[in-house]
């Protein structure tokens, strides 16, 4: 049972992690994150990096769609902008990776701002459809511009830290995970301030929000810009991780993947973004495991891709019908149970 969480100052009440148990768990999690790479196999390190990149991007989408209510199917395109920026800078200019990642974020942010400009006139589902159009246009540019390597794409040399190439999952872990953690903290902080509140207000009732003092266009653009910045950085990390960027690397299906991730995890909650991204990344891996264990295993692998597609769709539908607040809500229920135990409610 959770007792003794008395707060004596307003600042204490507003802290992100406010109880002793939470702080302990946080320390444990941090310790695990640090120890993990030394204990894990290459396969798990690879997964950890992939999960981390997806968490970063999903968090960006959550800011735009979960918190501000602007549905976007363009997250993959913005990641592509970031990835291509990093690829071009690494191959043609050779600037250090920190700069490249930031540049990737900025280019993606510009893309986001452009797509966001009509968001005052174009609302709701129309905006979602406009982002699909933007995705296609981006894909077209990637595939047909010689500067971006056309349909063959670009291969990316590894990021280097003081001459040491980050070319193994182990080394990249130390780049990807801290960046993701920083991005998560930033997002959590955002919603303790007026900026975050404004985003939520826009989602819940945008016209009233305006009369209450929130300039709609400015904040919608801010949301677009911020979330695509996140996507751009995630895309840059993606480029350093996979080391090759092609127009097919960021298809519309990937945007759907991220939207599914925040729905499954829980829109409008930072934890939801994390849970959703982890879940969606792990499901195909779990599937592979199951198929390997089944008796007719090797024959069934040809079904892997379509089954994955079906499960993907079923997850989206299932969560929307049965658990619209996602895994984060399930988590909250479990927490509430332990906070109140041995009482029922």
């Amino acid at each position: 049972m959770r007792i003794g969480t008395l707060k004596e100052t307003y600042t204490a009440d507003a802290a992100l992690f406010d109880s002793r148990t939470q702080k302990v768990w946080l320390a444990v999690a941090a310790a695990l994150l640090v120890l993990f790479p030394f204990m894990a196999s290459d396969y798990w390190l690879y997964l950890a990096c992939l999960v981390s990149i997806n968490v970063a991007s999903a968090t960006g989408l959550n800011i735009l769609t979960g918190y501000t209510g602007l549905v976007s199917l363009g997250q993959a395109a913005f990641m592509g902008l970031g990835a291509y920026t990093v690829a071009v800078l690494e191959t043609k200019v050779g600037t250090p990776f920190v700069l490249n990642l930031l540049a990737g974020g900025f280019v993606a942010m510009l893309g986001g701002l452009i797509v966001g400009i009509p968001s005052l006139r174009v609302k709701g589902l129309y905006l979602a459809i406009a982002t699909i159009a933007a995705s296609f246009i981006a894909h077209f540019i990637f595939a047909n511009w010689k500067f971006t390597g056309g349909t063959g794409g670009l291969s990316v040399p590894p990021a280097t830290l003081f001459g040491l190439p980050l070319d193994t999952s182990f080394r990249l872990y130390w780049l990807i995970v801290p960046v993701t953690v920083l991005m998560l903290l930033g997002a959590a902080n955002l919603f303790r301030t007026r900026v975050g509140r404004a985003f939520i207000a826009i989602r819940d009732r945008d016209i009233s929000a305006e009369v209450l003092g929130i300039p709609l266009l400015r904040y919608k653009l801010l949301s677009f810009g911020l979330s695509s910045f996140y996507a751009g950085v995630a895309g840059g990390l993606w480029a350093y991780f996979f080391r090759v960027v092609t127009p097919e690397s960021f298809p519309l299906l990937m945007s759907i993947f991220f939207l599914a991730a925040i729905i499954v995890g829980g829109m409008g909650s930072i934890l939801g973004g994390i849970l959703g991204a982890v879940f969606m990344t792990m499901v195909p891996e779990l599937l592979k495991l199951v198929v390997d264990l089944l008796p007719g295993g090797s024959e069934l692998t040809v079904f892997l891709s379509p089954v994955r597609t079906v499960i993907f769709g079923l997850l989206i539908i299932g969560f929307l019908v049965f658990e619209p607040h996602g895994l984060a809500e399930v988590w909250r229920r479990i927490r509430r149970f332990f906070h109140l135990w041995p009482f029922r409610n």
Binding site: R121, A133, L320
Partner: protein, 292 residues
């Protein structure tokens, strides 16, 4: 300026547009009755085509049996979709239902790939094969006859909406569910009917499109163009679906011929963006007024 070529391309485009119009009609049917944006319309089209393929090629049923069977099957699919995934989300924000249709699209594509594999297939021919000549312009027979069939169905639907009680009920349910209930309209039944009709129209469209270009698990991309059509025409306008379809068909054909095949979708999407900026409710859609 080769006018004859332009005329020929335009003709093909308009005929193709007729097919877009039919599929757009399936979309509008659902939106008019339930205010749901069904992004899986292309995949429902695909499902209809594959059902026809199964009945005609795999079960070797004669055409006069296979086509109605496929259409009815697609209608049934529509009813199942409505009951299991749309009805439970009544009252939820529209974006949730939209996402459900995104999930549905995924499920349909995956199912098709599982059952029939991702390879492209050919549908049995059932349309006359004599080339159509209008003046000096050549029009592929399948495209022409497909457009004719589409026109027949569009006309039928237009009449139904106008004069049949069911059509009026559909429009009533769309504007105000509670009011429709209170005048005795069986709202859930109207919802089901709308989705059944939509499924059937999509199937007819799918069979025609499949006959022209073959069927595959990526046929659903047709739905993106249909989406543009309904936005241009107005999400809830039957007339808009018709005119929008012809327009988009024309634009795509011209883009394809004069700029190159890969520019088709690009041209369509540029039109989409332009329409969204200038006239988001489309040519004939109803303008929603926001109240504070």
């Amino acid at each position: 300026m080769d006018w004859a070529y332009l005329f020929e391309i335009s003709l093909t485009g308009i005929a193709g547009g007729g097919l877009y119009a039919l599929a757009a009609l399936a979309f509008v049917m659902v939106y008019k009755a339930t205010r749901v944006v069904n992004i899986a319309i292309g995949e429902m089209l695909m499902a209809g085509a594959y059902l026809f393929f199964t009945f005609a090629s795999m079960f070797a049923l004669p055409l006069w049996l296979a086509i109605p069977a496929a259409v009815l099957g697609a209608g049934l699919l529509g009813a199942v979709i409505e009951r299991t995934m749309i009805r439970p989300l009544l009252g939820e924000p529209p974006i949730s239902v939209f996402m459900v249709t995104v999930g549905l699209a995924s499920v349909l594509v995956g199912l098709v790939e599982m059952i029939w594999t991702a390879d492209q297939r050919r549908l049995p021919d059932f349309m006359p094969t004599k080339p159509i000549m209008i003046g000096d312009a050549f029009l592929a027979p399948k495209v022409f006859w497909g457009a004719m069939i589409a026109v027949v169905f569009i006309a039928a639907v237009l009449l139904v909406f106008r004069f049949w009680r069911g059509g009026v009920a559909l429009r009533a349910t769309a504007s105000d569910q509670a009011a429709a209930y209170s005048v005795g309209i069986n709202v859930p039944r109207v919802f089901s009917l709308a989705w059944v009709a939509s499924g059937m129209l999509a199937a007819i469209s799918g069979i025609i499109v499949g006959s022209i270009g073959g069927i595959s698990s990526s046929m659903g991309v047709f739905g993106l163009s249909v989406l543009v059509v309904v936005i241009v025409g107005g999400l809830d306008s039957v007339l808009g679906a018709l005119i929008g379809g012809l327009l988009i068909g024309l634009i795509e054909a011209l883009a394809g011929a004069y700029l190159g095949g890969e520019y088709k979708l690009l041209a369509t999407f540029i039109v989409l963006v332009a329409v969204l900026l200038v006239r988001p409710y489309g040519l004939f859609g109803t303008h929603e007024i926001e109240r504070l």
